[in-house]
């Protein structure tokens, strides 16, 4: 019984960390219409930043500055936000696809740096000994898991409330206006690019915070945690939940993570250890097909409420007119 509660807490903590990433993506895509296929890169930036700031000194690499965990989280948000802002500034005046390609490139480069810049990131072996918020409770796993769950829930709730508030604020209304009818919004004197860069940066900061939370929850990070499969999982979570709705983002994350963890447990029961790697790839195939089917059948997601009326033909012309000679 106690094991079950402990596992439940562990499961929910992971799911809520995923929800945090999904909330960041919902701000970028659901609210603003910005396509980020490199979000694993921003999550990794957050995890590594926080790890560098808070771990004890390590002669093999830069730092280990031993700072408090809270500073690590704030630093992660700052670096993640700046990275996202730079990506946005470079590409948001161009066609929407260029942002997608660039974010994809960001993820590749972050992965490359994580693997090869040993002095900074510890290379393929990653960084260990990341301080945990309630490390001294580790002897009693149940208490440890529950306190982790409490802190992750608190952070996710804060992010959720803040995003709900932002969505309804004048700022959020400008983003929605830009998404629905860019020309009308521009004619009211709103700079499309400036607002989009802001939204993209805030989204990136939230993703980085999620990465940092997870790093401190697990206590160890390695480049393998941030492959494109992570990006893909979060996209499925957002689409299942229905892009545009923050509550949907959280619900979708918990649901998809339950399916993912459940089918993972099922394959480990049904298949012999040698076959498990193959079964795991079949799991990804199933989720990929699911994403395509949802896009075909219910493009607004299972819980998506509003029909979205973004017309890209218009948007392309308007951007071209804005940046043209």
């Amino acid at each position: 019984m106690i094991d079950l509660v402990g596992y439940g807490a562990f499961f929910l903590t992971t799911a809520l960390i995923f929800s945090l990433v999904t909330l960041g993506l919902n701000l970028q895509w659901g609210l603003t219409g910005l396509f980020n296929v490199g979000l694993a890169g921003f999550v990794a930036i957050g995890a590594y930043t926080s790890a560098l700031l808070t771990t004890p000194d390590d002669p093999a690499r830069l730092g280990g500055f031993g700072l408090p965990i809270l500073i690590g989280w704030l630093g992660a948000m700052f670096v993640g936000g700046v990275a996202a802002a730079l990506t946005g500034i470079a590409t948001l005046r161009l066609r929407s696809d260029y942002l997608a390609i660039t974010t994809f490139g960001v993820a590749v480069v972050v992965q490359l740096v994580a693997l090869n810049a040993q002095k900074l990131t510890g290379g393929p072996f990653g960084i260990g000994f990341i301080p945990r918020p309630f490390g001294d409770l580790a002897e009693t796993p149940l208490l440890f898991n529950l306190s982790n769950l409490a802190i992750v829930s608190a952070v996710t709730l804060c992010a959720y409330l803040a995003l709900e508030h932002l969505t309804r604020s004048p700022w959020g209304r400008v983003l929605k206006a830009l998404r629905e009818d860019e020309r009308a919004a521009i004619s009211l004197g709103k700079s499309a690019r400036f607002y989009r860069v802001q939204a993209f940066a805030v989204g990136g900061a939230i993703m980085a915070l999620a990465g940092a939370l997870q790093a401190h929850f697990i206590g160890f990070i390695a480049p393998d945690n941030y492959l494109s499969i992570l990006t893909f999982q979060v996209w499925v979570m957002l689409i299942v939940g229905g892009s545009g709705s923050n509550a949907g983002a959280v619900a979708g994350s918990v649901m998809v993570w339950a399916i993912w963890a459940g089918s993972g447990a099922l394959t480990s029961v049904l298949f012999t250890p040698e076959q498990q790697a193959r079964a795991a790839s079949l799991q990804i195939v199933a989720i990929g097909v699911m994403l395509c089917v949802i896009l075909l059948v219910r493009p607004n997601g299972l819980f998506g409420e509003r029909p979205r009326r973004m017309r890209f033909g218009k948007r392309v012309k308007a951007t071209a007119g804005e940046s043209g000679p």
């Binding site: 470079a90 390609i101 090869n116 996209w235 790839s281 195939v285 989720i287 990929g288 979205r308 017309r311």
Partner: protein, 302 residues
């Protein structure tokens, strides 16, 4: 600095360039960036590998053609693989992309291609496992050709094949009615439709050309490097960078972009180290997007 990087760069550049032609055509005619293009490459290569295996069981061991590492089975298999990849692309368009295009949100199609890419790649891992394989394990002796450059017969043959294919596609695109219809579609789809251009057939030709070249590029990688389920996915960023560097919609641009990126990668391998190779395309991509987003031969969007 050793000039060997020129040969290595031209070879990598050929693979990137052949792939980038497909990316640039899909982008300019179907109006979305296809994240599944790399997986066409991998699927084509594995299909070719399967046919080579089938031929080997039917005819026994076939001696390779004089200086090359492969014989007629690979050539036959490549033709079958190209046909298979083209059919795969057409099938994917029928069940997924054509329906998503109807929703008139370009980015939804991109997302669909991202999901399809993940599914295709993992399906390959499921069928063939992620262990790398090879067309041939024979080691070829590289011939010195002066200036400290060495080249193998396979490499010469594949460079010639690339040149022939690029010339062929360029001639089709500029000298035939089909090619002119494709240009019309990329410049103004509405007007092209009014002028009586058969949109469905242009879409089909675009997929067939892109997928066929992707398959050839994949087999080149298979012959010269190795075959892995991730081989196409790893080529995605260089291909996108090459298409954008060359200017979206331009076939010569895509090839030139591919060659530039290939040469830059090879130079980086020699100067900085092989582990940083994948970063080269990103740096070039960012530079192009900041300095000249329409690329070398691009036209400003209307």
């Amino acid at each position: 600095m050793n000039l060997q990087f020129v040969v290595d760069g031209l070879l990598t550049g050929s693979m990137i360039g052949l792939g980038a032609i497909g990316v640039t055509l899909t982008y300019s005619i179907l109006r979305f960036s296809n994240f599944a293009h790399g997986d066409f490459m991998a699927w084509g290569t594995y299909a070719t590998l399967a046919v080579v295996g089938a031929i080997a069981t039917m005819f026994g061991k076939v001696a390779p053609i004089a200086p090359l590492s492969f014989g007629w089975p690979l050539i036959v298999a490549l033709v079958v693989g190209v046909a298979f990849t083209a059919l795969l692309a057409l099938l994917l368009d029928k069940v997924l992309f054509s329906r998503l295009r109807k929703q008139e949100q370009a980015i939804i199609v991109v997302m669909g291609s991202f999901g399809a890419s993940m599914a295709l790649r993992s399906l390959l891992e499921f069928i063939f496992t992620s262990r790398p394989t090879y067309f041939s394990r024979a080691i070829q002796i590289a011939m010195p050709v002066g200036f400290g450059i060495r080249i193998t017969p396979d490499q010469i043959a594949l460079l010639l094949l690339t040149a022939a294919l690029v010339l062929g596609v360029h001639l089709v695109a500029t000298r035939t009615q089909t090619g002119r219809s494709m240009q019309a579609m990329s410049q103004n789809p509405a007007l092209a439709r009014i002028a009586g251009i058969d949109v469905a057939s242009v879409v089909r030709v675009t997929w067939v050309i892109g997928a066929a070249l992707a398959c050839v590029a994949g087999v080149m990688i298979g012959v010269l490097v190795q075959i892995r389920p991730l081989m196409g996915f790893d080529m995605l960023l260089p291909m996108f960078a090459a298409a954008i560097l060359g200017g979206i919609g331009s076939i010569p641009g895509a090839v030139l972009g591919g060659l530039i990126i290939g040469l830059a990668e090879a130079a980086a391998v020699q100067l900085i180290g092989a582990e940083w190779r994948a970063g080269v395309s990103f740096i070039i991509l960012m530079a192009v997007l900041i300095v000249r987003p329409i690329g070398l031969f691009g036209v400003r969007e209307r």
